[in-house]
Amino acid sequence: MSEVVLLTGLGLVLLVLMAVLRYRFKSSGAAQESMPKPGVPLSVEIPQELVERLFGSDDWNFVRAQGSEQLSRLFLRERRELALSWMRGVRERASGLMHSHRMAARASSDLKPLDEMRITVYYLLFELLCQSLVLAVWLRGPVALTGLIERIDGLSGQLARVAGRAEPVVVDGGLNQT
């Protein structure tokens, strides 16, 4: 019975994978289009000063002092959406870093499968941590995450710098690394 499930599952997995491939590369040139465009930010940049103000407790203390329940709810909802949007940006940068790595590695004759697997594990762990943070934002709310937000902002900038170094950039007639 287990063999029936295994073999039937293998056949179905193959069909699903082909559907995923079809979705990812809708046309023959889609792979090129899916590459991150050099120089184009993966998410909206927010200046550090604005981040501190948006996620600091000053605004929340002020809103709470007004004594309006409706205003407090509106404030918290907007801040939560902003925090989640920021998390999406961080994940996009990590995804961009991974994508840039694979674009460069796929043509390398020196590629080492173990290194590739190790990097994939790093990426998956990072994704897991990001998802945990998103959950924390939902559960604890954005205002209680002042410490977290500051660190995520540092991470976002760092990933952007690293992704920038690894990202292939089009130079006359070919690609180069920034």
Binding site: E3, L7, M18, L21, A31, A94, R106, P168
Partner: protein, 253 residues
């Protein structure tokens, strides 16, 4: 009558795909695939002749032809691999390692069977042997699809269609062969229509995708990065390690 109609439609579609291949000179680009199709065309015509003249012998010949087709199909999988990853040595190396892993699993299974007294090759019938061949092909295609998706390998319309059609054929074959062996005659009616329908669908995909030559998009290759893979690994690793450290700290404000 319906199954005969599907059979004849399938033959007409194979003829059309082969005719287009000759007209568009695609036959030189994918020789093994078209050899496979020509084999299917001639053996199907032969089987049709046997079906009408020596009906009692049909079943025996059918399984021989199916098995030979499955064996030739291994060449088609190899052709897909060669065309898809030929320009990407890094991705090809990943795929080769995946294939070696699959092979190691198969050998381990054979050794395990031998140690439990089932023999090195546990299959006893041509049906089971064909199913085993299809299983290996499906596993290889799954590995190829994962590598192609992960490394965003551009396939082009022709190769994409070839792979999609063959994957559909293999997966349907694998599922129907497995279920028919497990369920027996209860599955026979479904199998009788499902298999030819999948075949006609695969042929339709091939007909559309291989109607004319579709160039494979040129890969973006950075010679500097190729020469400096270790630096690339270090940069990416460092990025993720720093990112993880930040996130860990974030959980302990």
């Amino acid at each position: 009558m319906l199954s005969l109609g599907i059979w004849i439609l399938g033959l007409a579609l194979i003829g059309l795909v082969l005719a287009r291949a000759c007209a568009q000179r695609l036959v030189f680009a994918y020789p093994i695939f078209y050899m496979y199709l020509a084999f299917v065309l001639f053996t199907s015509l032969g089987l049709l002749f046997i079906y009408w003249t020596k009906h009692s012998e049909y079943s025996r010949y059918y399984w021989y032809v199916e098995f030979a087709g499955a064996a030739l199909g291994c060449g088609v999988v190899w052709e897909i691999y060669r065309h898809a990853l030929g320009r990407f040595p890094g991705a090809a190396r990943m795929a080769r390692n995946g294939l070696l892993f699959t092979l190691a699993l198969t050998v381990s299974k054979a050794i395990a069977n031998a140690s439990t007294g089932l023999g090195w090759w546990p299959t006893k019938t041509l049906v089971a042997l064909e199913r085993d061949l299809r299983t290996v092909q499906a596993a290889v295609l799954v590995g190829l699809a994962i590598v192609i998706a992960s490394y965003a390998i551009p396939l082009g319309r022709n190769l994409w269609g070839l792979m999609a059609g063959y994957a559909l054929l293999i997966s349907t074959n694998l599922v129907t062969l497995t279920l028919s062996e497990h369920l027996g005659s209860a599955f026979y009616t479904t199998w009788r229509y499902l298999q030819p329908l999948a075949y006609v669908t695969a042929l339709s995909i091939w007909c559309a995708a291989l109607w004319s030559y579709g160039p494979v998009p040129a890969p973006n290759v950075n010679s500097r990065i190729e020469q400096d893979y270790q630096t690339l690994v270090q940069v990416t690793t460092k990025g993720f390690l720093h990112a993880r450290t930040y996130l860990r700290k974030a959980f302990r404000p």
